[in-house]
């Protein structure tokens, strides 16, 4: 009986065990259903998008190096800010996190692949197509979208031929995010190895579970919002037109109902990464595992009831201003719990500072700066002055770049020996860290002052008194960009064995690391856990407080 069944299962795989390797050539990547292949594709795609988005930011910073208009006309400048943001968020960070989830979640929770491998392939391939469509708008009559990534009507409705391409590409990105999120969520809920209860799960899996939930909840809302834009422009509806009884502010509400959870989508996986790396290099268990889980869930819950802090100046009723101010400030509590726990994990640890740890510690410091400026922005009366100034730009870049982007970099340094079997170069890794950290602060710290002094965002020219700040900021931006080439070479060298790098990484690359991914060889086999593995007690990262 058991044998007959066995044959069936083999029929299921369609081939024998030796057929488990990938296809050859380009078709491998087009047809793959393997979580590691798709993780790699996601990460390479994110790399390319970070590069394109980075070039756009350099156009912006070059123009802002001096007051006056020198390189680009204002219309093109606005296209650059709009596309830079869309590319960085939907093309860079979100795919990078999905790529990391692809690689790591199955290896961390001990299963063979993501739950829906073909859907996983679809989720990835939607992205290059969607971004080709989006970026092609730059070459259309009237140029690309220039109304800001927030797409506020009525301004965004003035976009020329690019408009429907913009809307549909956002729809496709949304489908990609939702399918990816469903996949990760279902994998985590359904495919943990026996014995791995939810509260024994690595925190990266926990934060991704909650991120996935947020994605499934809010990406459809964004789809609804942009659909209303589309019908307002082409089919005569009046959702956002007062003449017909609608209201442009309605768009802002719907958009930010998506948008605020979206910023947590961009940071919760980063929290998971940092919570994985710090215990490894502090050689201690994570302090307050349970409270980390509850804080993540608390942040996710609160993220649904704070959206209008982006709209304090729009003319909301007073009760709304007050509610959203206090609700926003509440988020500082669970966030504070997290920062406290990271610091407490390091307290009296036997710390070493390999590159992933440097980036993780840098994250804790610099993300927290962004968190503090966030609390400042949460105060309604204060925000009346800060709104739409460079102070806001400084705030969200502190959480996005030395926050989320640093966590992605840390994760890649941390796991690349596991992926490729080859160590990265520690000297260049550390150099990369210090240059990045110096330049990123040079870029964004002065923007706080420029903003407080009244410099507006999304404007290609500025008053003379802001020149010094902007010169520093532009130098920082170019320096940061150039520094990333160290990273690119360091990573590619591990991927392709350049500079004589050997495949000699041990299974447990970091001796302080725990978790199932460190029990398998480096590089991890193409199919890691076809049968659910045992979960030894010392690999459990989720250790409860007593």
């Amino acid at each position: 009986m058991a044998h007959a069944h066995d044959d069936h299962a083999h029929g299921g795989h369609g081939h024998d065990d030796h057929a488990h390797g990938p296809d050859k050539g380009i078709m491998r990547w087009i047809k793959t259903t393997n979580h590691k292949d798709l993780g790699t594709l996601y990460l390479f795609f994110a790399f390319i998008m970070f590069f394109i988005g980075g070039l756009m930011s350099l156009v912006i910073r070059a123009e802002l190096f001096h007051p006056g208009l020198q390189f680009v006309d204002p219309e093109f400048f606005n296209q650059m800010t709009t596309l830079h943001a869309l590319v960085m968020i939907f093309g860079g960070l979100m795919p990078a996190f999905t790529g990391l989830a692809n690689w790591m979640v199955p290896m961390m929770i001990g299963c063979s692949d993501l739950a829906l491998p073909r859907v996983n392939n679809w989720g990835f391939w939607l992205l290059p197509f969607a971004f080709t469509m989006l970026l092609s708008t730059m070459f259309m009559p009237g140029g690309g979208p220039a109304g800001g990534w927030t797409l506020y009507p009525p301004l965004s409705l003035q976009t020329a031929n690019a408009f429907p391409f913009l809307i549909f590409s956002i729809h496709l990105m949304g489908i990609s995010s939702i399918t990816g999120a469903i996949n990760v969520v279902v994998t985590i809920l359904n495919m943990r190895t026996p014995g791995m209860t939810l509260l024994k799960m690595p925190l990266f899996a926990w934060t991704w579970l909650i991120t996935g939930y947020l994605l499934i909840a809010v990406m459809p809302v964004l789809a609804g919002a942009v659909t209303m834009l589309l019908t307002d422009k082409y089919f005569g509806t009046s959702f956002f037109s007062a003449a017909g009884g609608g209201d442009p502010v309605l768009f802002q509400h719907v958009f930010w109902f998506f948008g605020h959870p979206e910023v947590y989508i961009l940071i919760l996986p980063a929290f998971g990464i940092v919570s994985t790396i710090i215990p490894t290099f502090a050689r201690k268990q994570l302090f307050g595992y349970d409270s980390m889980v509850y804080a993540t869930a608390g942040i996710a819950f609160l993220s649904f009831i704070v959206w209008a802090h982006h709209m304090f100046t729009v003319g909301m009723p007073l009760a709304g201003e007050l509610f959203f101010m206090f609700a926003t400030m509440l988020i500082a509590v669970p966030t504070g719990v997290k920062v406290f726990n990271w610091v407490a994990t390091m307290w009296r640890g036997s710390m070493t500072f390999e590159t992933p740890m440097l980036f993780a510690v840098g994250f804790v410091f610099l993300f927290t700066i962004g968190g503090f400026s966030g609390v400042m922005l949460a105060m309604t009366p204060v925000d009346f002055q800060y709104h739409d100034t460079y102070f806001v730009v400084a705030h969200f870049h502190y959480v996005l770049v030395p926050g989320a982007v640093f966590s992605v970099i840390a994760a890649i340094y941390y796991w690349i020996p596991k992926w490729t079997g080859r160590m990265y170069n520690e000297f260049w890794g550390k150099t990369h860290f210090w240059l990045s950290t110096i330049f990123i602060n040079l870029t964004f710290f002065p923007q706080h002052f420029a903003g407080l002094a009244g410099m507006q965002r999304r404007v290609p020219d500025y008053a003379l008194q802001f020149t010094d700040f902007n010169v520093i900021s532009s130098i920082g931006a170019f320096g940061f960009f150039v520094s990333q080439f160290i990273f690119i070479f360091n990573v590619l060298a591990s991927c392709y064995g350049w500079f004589g790098r050997q495949r000699n990484a041990p299974d447990r690359v970091w001796e302080g690391a725990r978790g199932l991914e460190w029990t398998v060889p480096s590089p991890a086999p193409y199919h890691t856990f076809e049968d659910p593995p045992e979960l030894p007690a010392h690999e459990v990262t989720g250790v409860h407080d007593h």
Partner: protein, 292 residues
């Protein structure tokens, strides 16, 4: 030894590499690119639209057929069944949130933006300077009376009948489910065709209602915020009913060719859940769009 073999048979099904998703994406791009060009009057012709649509439908059909055959071929363990259940539940949740955006817009228009345009509370200046004389009431096509005077569809006419139809269809699909579980395939198929018939009846009446709205009531998509919310909500719902009916038909055809077992029929359940979801959305629509 024995336990090991048994364990192996329960291995999670990991499909072979597949080109379906890639081709599906390419066809969607052709479709959406074609529609975009059409909207901007770029005159690249309708070929990308039709070709993209045809290929997309073909791939979706192939994909679902492949999954059905894998399932009937016994390749799915109980764990795979749970994956599909979880997956479908989360997908329906995302659909709920999509409708939520439009319900939210309706709520906002009725409770906030129209009263404000009418000068409620601190917004008296808006009313006096921008839209003097405008009084907020529902239904409304706004202070500029976009689209001209219109009439609405009374809740307790066709919509009430449609409510009854959908509720009944919820009962018939449950009867079909019970019949399937009791191994009464014939009865199950009959109940399923009854459900399909009810779905089609709903769509027929809905189409009829739309025609009446456009030809006799002067209620169109352009009728200000009322027309916008009315047609977008009922229109997206109608699209979901259409999709649901197609899903019902394919499940029924699968039943007729012997698919599904009394104790394992995820495809059936998934469609039933979807149908109930469409049902619940309609109840919401009936109350807040037609009735209140």
């Amino acid at each position: 030894m024995g336990t090991q073999a048994a364990q192996k048979s329960e291995r999670y099904f990991v499909p072979q590499p597949s080109a379906w998703p890639f081709v599906l994406t390419a066809s969607l791009i052709a479709l959406l690119g074609g529609v975009s060009a059409y909207l901007e009057e770029d005159h690249i012709g309708p070929i990308p639209i039709y070709a993209g649509l045809a290929v997309a439908i073909y791939i979706i059909f192939r994909w679902f057929r492949g999954v059905a055959l894998e399932s009937e071929g016994g390749m799915y363990s109980a764990q795979v069944g749970r994956t599909y259940r979880w997956g479908m539940s989360w997908f329906i949740f995302s659909e709920v949130m999509f409708f939520g955006a439009f319900f939210g817009a309706l709520f906002y228009a009725r409770e906030l933006s129209l009263p404000w345009l009418g000068g409620e509370g601190s917004k008296i200046a808006t009313n006096l300077t921008l839209w003097p004389g405008f009084e907020a009431h529902w239904p409304s096509n706004g202070p500029a009376q976009l689209g001209g005077a219109f009439k609405t569809i009374p809740a307790f006419s066709v919509p009430a009948i449609n409510t009854a139809i959908l509720l009944t269809s919820g009962v018939t699909i449950t009867m079909a489910h019970h019949a399937l579980k009791a191994s009464k395939r014939g009865a199950c198929i009959l109940w399923m065709w009854a459900t399909v018939a009810l779905g089609c009846a709903f769509l027929y009446l809905q189409a009829h209602e739309y025609i009446e709205a456009y030809t006799e009531l002067n209620l169109t998509l352009r009728s200000g915020i009322y027309g916008s919310t009315f047609f977008m909500l009922t229109g997206f719902h109608g699209m979901h009913v259409t999709l649901g009916t197609i899903m019902l038909i394919s499940i029924t055809l699968r039943l007729m060719s012997g698919h599904f077992k009394p104790d394992s029929h995820f495809g059936f359940e998934g469609v039933a859940w979807y149908w109930h979801f469409v049902d619940v959305v309609w109840l919401g629509l009936f109350v807040v769009v037609y009735w209140l």
